[in-house]
Amino acid sequence: MPPSASPTDWVRRAVVLTTLGVPVQLRLSAPTAAQADELAQAVRRAWAWTLIDALTDALTEPPVDASAGDPVDLDVPLLDDVETTLHHLSSALTLGVIERQAGRLWMLHAAALADPASGATVVLVAPSGTGKSTAARTLARRWGYVTDETAGIAADGRVVPHPKPLSIVRPTTTVKAQVSPADAGLVRPEAAPWLAGIAIIERDGASPVATTPVRTAVALARLGEQTSYVARMERPLSFMASLIERAGGVRLARYREAAELEPLVAELMERA
């Protein structure tokens, strides 16, 4: 967030949630009670799938790693308006939880989709700004939405959800709207997600979708580029290679429209 200090006479509200396996305490503030309530309501709506009643709920859940139990604590003063505040919050919160999980999870820049019943999860890896959100927004109408930003994968293959609001460009403003997954019509996974498949996606106009297997050494290089805090992991190459093997290897998928990736996602889920 930009300047975290807000005037001491601002009205404060708290929202607690857990995402990417990390408990988060948001300390919201605004000049008036009405504005603070409006901000709190907007944050709760946007981050609805991550909300918890209290930090103790998150701290008593089986943690991915016990040392990730300390909450991220963020001050969230009202900026120009609620939309702008939500926009900055999304980045700050994501950076905060990624930093907290550095060295504990394999964190890929990826969209992830889960079979709602079995939890089998396909991770679609792509650099920022090249189609992750669109893929998630399109494909998570059929499969469960796990994330459109960062897939956190534990050594045992669990995929830790980061179901952040979707950032959607609106023609009337330069600030991306933060839309809750429910408001975007996405499916909420019921079963715990686990790694079933990995694909690198490239939106280069190929139609029909062209898929090719990527040999593991090259996959490590390609996925390493899209990994947060790769050097903080313990034996990162072995960690990643083991999970690549568990996923049955990595595919490269060149495509034009996100909807055309459906058969690939279905195949990777079914194979698992």
Partner: protein
Amino acid sequence: MEPGVMEPGTVEPGTVEVRRVPVDDELLVDGELVVLRGQDVLVLSEVASGALDHLGSEVWTSLASLTDAVEARFGLPDEGAQAVFSLVSDLSDVGLVELRRG
């Protein structure tokens, strides 16, 4: 970088010596060596992997000795010494070896 160690791209064959730079992780996958240095993951060719095998990070190895080792392991074309020099120059450019004049 120690005194005498040459900047990548500034070296010429002659009496060059080479040593490895420690990496953060490495893994042999289906015969290909993958290394992590900083945030970069690099896949090395079989010959580059073999050359690194012959080098230590504490001791300097002469280019002539390295050329002999690579030649014995892989065979080399007539311009072998130049080819090995080109190889270590590339490895120097990506930070996997250091070069100095012997």
